[in-house]
């Protein structure tokens, strides 16, 4: 079911040049400061916007993971652990600067591998990744003052498994705090988006980071499992689905491994009748269509006060009609490609459930490219809290709209989920915002804004959205031991 909404402007193509990146025909694993061939089967990394094969990637076997963990252990014991904290700090500052220097290269590579609009990789992912290293660099020699008790100590070797939605940024969220606190790292990037992590390996070499401090082992789920379950790992940090998070929590049960999990979400974005509607509509769009909705904290459940429902929906549809879906490297693109055929199938399946269960689907008239993986921005109205599209994480550009009459009902509906990662509140009344923010069981609450991130600001979930925080003073505790850590 579509309705035609005319785009107000015609745009000439404005593609970012991809000549700045140099993708090798194949990549090995980054272990102990060197690129080495993996002993597992290799696999292809594909540009989701064109289905073009970008390169061949090594798959880390159990033996490769063994080597990576051994390298990380050696580096921890001999070099990185004993190093003066001020020197660790300087290495991280170097990495931050190198990311800034090579930011355009990273942005283009990220958009090619992931499918996200260059506007986002250029203005959000890469600058924030650099900022995370810059922020944590400063912590490395100030840990005694972090409020985590006297003399907090690193844990040792950190196993880190990250998702495909923000490949470089999630690497930064994991690697920067681990290194700042004196740990070494074995990182497993997502199967479909390994390229910026491999370019980051080159940054580590340019920074003269001692070999073994950062090791990057590419591969799929089996490689990730080998990294997480390795006996000589002291810390496991995972960002990804709640289902895999539960498997990991089971796997580390009974071990000494410290675990932090950043899992799925189904955030409520609550719009009260006194909200500035135009501003709220921008926030709703940003909340659900940012990064194609491949965002664990996406505002995927819109809760609108009943009295303004029709006005908000009309305004929202008008705005969505102006969004440009297409070439991720085009600087005018708002919505890029879905990351993989598998994810596209899941989005389609859940959307079909939405209709089958009785919600009303709306999509703007929009031309999608012939090749690649695409899904138009989608709004479901008439959604009930029992519908799957109101309960399950779609992880795509699909918004479910529910209504409420009273603030109590809004809070009850917002909290009626097994997740608790984020939430949004739109209102002009400050006291109402603070009261609702208090009542929401979610780790991040955005008031009159959405999807904002900063290295100084702790991020993480309540309930089945995981535990532990990333960013800020709180994020350090995940990588330290001590009386209060």
């Amino acid at each position: 079911m579509t309705s035609s909404t005319r785009a107000p402007f015609e745009y000439a193509p404005a593609p970012e040049s991809r000549s700045i990146v140099d993708i090798a025909p194949s990549y090995g694993l980054f272990i102990d400061g060197e690129f080495v061939d993996g002993t597992g089967d290799s696999f292809k990394s594909v540009n989701p916007a064109s289905e073009e094969v970008l390169t061949e990637i090594s798959s880390g076997s159990d033996a490769d993971v063994d080597r990576a963990v051994a390298a990380a252990r050696r580096a921890f014991t001999r070099v990185w652990g004993p190093m003066r904290p001020a020197d660790r700090s300087k290495y991280l500052f170097r990495i931050a600067r190198l990311l800034q220097e090579r930011s355009r290269e990273f942005a283009v590579l990220e958009s090619l591998d992931n499918g996200k609009p260059i506007r986002e990789s250029r203005d959000v992912d890469v600058p924030l990744a650099a900022a995370h290293f810059f922020y944590h660099a400063g912590w490395a020699d100030k840990l005694d003052h972090a409020g985590l008790g006297p003399g907090p100590r690193p844990l040792g070797v950190a196993a880190q498994v990250i998702p495909w939605n923000f490949p470089l940024l999630m690497l930064a969220w994991k690697v920067a705090p681990a290194l700042a606190t004196g740990n070494t790292v074995v990182l497993k990037p997502a199967e479909t988006t390994p390229l910026t992590a491999l370019l980051f390996a080159e940054v580590c070499r340019q920074a003269d980071l001692p070999p073994g401090v950062v090791n990057i082992v590419t591969g799929a789920g089996d490689t990730g499992r080998a990294v997480v379950e390795h006996d000589d790992v002291d810390k496991v940090a995972f960002t990804g689905s709640t289902e895999v998070g539960k498997q990991i929590a089971r796997a580390v049960a009974g071990t000494r491994k410290k675990l932090t999990l950043e899992l799925g979400g189904k955030a409520a974005n609550i719009v009260f009748d006194d909200a500035p509607i135009d501003q709220a509509v921008e926030g709703i769009v940003q909340g659900i269509f940012f990064n194609q909705g491949h965002v664990c904290c996406a505002g995927s459940r819109l809760l609108v006060q009943e009295s303004i429902h029709d006005e908000v929906i009309a305004s929202l549809q008008r705005r969505i009609g102006t969004l440009r879906v297409g070439d991720p490297l085009d600087k005018n693109t708002d919505i890029g490609a879905i990351n993989s055929a598998e994810q596209l199938a899941r989005i389609r399946e859940l959307s079909d459930y939405g209709e089958a269960e009785g919600a009303t689907r709306w999509q703007p008239a929009c031309d999608l490219p012939d090749r690649g993986f695409w899904f138009p921005p989608t709004v479901f109205t008439g959604v009930s809290p029992a519908h799957r599209i109101a309960r399950d994480e779609v992880f795509g550009p699909v918004l479910s709209v529910l209504t409420f009459r009273t603030p109590d009902e809004a809070v009850a509906k917002a909290n009626n989920t097994t997740y608790g990662l984020s939430a949004g509140i739109w209102s002009e009344k400050g006291s109402r915002i603070l009261k609702i923010a208090n009542q929401l069981r979610a780790g991040v609450v955005w008031a009159n804004t959405f999807n904002k991130f900063d290295p100084t600001s702790p991020f993480g979930g309540y309930k089945q959205s995981g535990y532990g925080r990333e960013g800020g003073r709180h994020g350090l505790a995940a990588y330290l031991k001590g009386n209060d850590a």
Binding site: A131, G147, G149, T242, G245, K246, Q247, A249, R250, A253, G254, L261, L263, T418, I433, L434, A437, A442, G443, V444, V445, W446, A447, N448, T449, K452, D454, T456, S457, P458, F459, G460, Y462, K463, Q464, S465, G466, Y467, R469, G472, R473, H474, A477, N483, D484
Partner: protein
């Protein structure tokens, strides 16, 4: 005490939702002192009792977590006051159950009362110590604050029946959580005396629920219960802790693991028993005109 008066003995029961029910199962088990002499028949809590206790704890969560931190601190201090008044009774219970000398029992009771006082003073400082403003690079006022995790299941230590119990329960409450506690199996009687204190100290009914019985069976049900948000496995029986942690993973519970051996409860606990049961909430608010 005149020797010809026949004592009135106490019936030891569960403490659930502010009341003292028997186990719905009708089961009891014999509790003896350290020398094996009969002390009492304690209620042997069942799965249904555990589930009822979770319902009570969930029901009380809004009340307890919604009180001001100042008020929660006063209530926890009141617990210490009422315990002090029953000092002699606690000394007798601890001495009998743990086989301690009068002076050692007295030291344990003193420390337990003082621990309530210590945690009472924490309630209105946690937000300042664990929260704060975050200087984000943009026009936003961004602040983080600790909030209670919710319903916490506590498997209390098996050895230290009062000081250990208070040392694991008070930090859970100080942060604003509500609790379902499984007491020491063989030394449950001081916990029942503590329940009588809690019932008369303005602790809202349901905030603390104390189950006497076997952590081995109750632990499984609490670890897998979908409405329990976190579990403290301190008193988990040897060999079962890993299994409980695995079951807890099914609903992403926060888990405080079993220590290699029962800790020295007289040591300064720092924040280590409060932070596992606190969430951090971060709120972003635009700055503009």
């Amino acid at each position: 005490m005149s020797s010809d008066r026949l004592a009135v003995r106490k019936t030891y029961k569960l403490y659930v939702n502010g009341a003292f029910p028997r186990s719905e199962s009708g089961r009891t088990y014999e509790v003896t002192d350290a020398k094996g002499h009969f002390l009492a028949n304690a209620a042997w809590a069942s799965r249904k009792d555990a589930r009822d206790a979770v319902v009570a704890a969930r029901g009380a969560f809004g009340t307890w977590s919604g009180m001001t931190a100042y008020n929660r601190g006063q209530v926890l201090y009141r617990v210490a006051e009422v315990m002090e008044g029953r000092h002699v009774q606690f000394c007798e219970e601890v001495a009998a159950g743990e086989g301690l000398s009068q002076s050692k029992a007295r030291a344990a009771v003193d420390a337990a009362i003082d621990r309530w006082v210590w945690y009472a003073g924490w309630t209105d400082k946690l937000a300042a110590v664990l929260g704060g403003a975050n200087p984000v690079a943009g026009p936003y006022f961004d602040f983080s604050m600790p909030e209670p995790t919710g319903v916490v299941a506590v498997l209390a230590p098996q050895q230290s029946s009062l000081l250990g119990l208070v040392s694991v329960l008070a930090p859970v409450l100080a942060g604003g959580n509500t609790a379902v506690v499984v007491t020491s199996k063989e030394r449950p009687l001081p916990a029942v005396a503590l329940a009588e204190v809690l019932a008369t100290s303005d602790v809202p009914g349901g905030t603390v629920n104390l189950l006497t019985g076997d952590a081995e069976e109750l632990g499984t049900w609490l670890a897998e219960h979908a409405d329990v948000d976190a579990i403290d496995l301190t008193g988990a029986p040897a060999g079962r802790a890993m299994e409980f942690e695995r079951e807890a993973a099914g609903t992403v519970k926060r888990v405080l693991r079993t220590p290699a051996q029962e800790p020295d409860w007289t040591a300064d606990p720092g924040l280590s028993r409060m932070t596992p049961f606190l969430e951090t909430k971060t709120v972003w608010h635009p700055i503009g005109v």
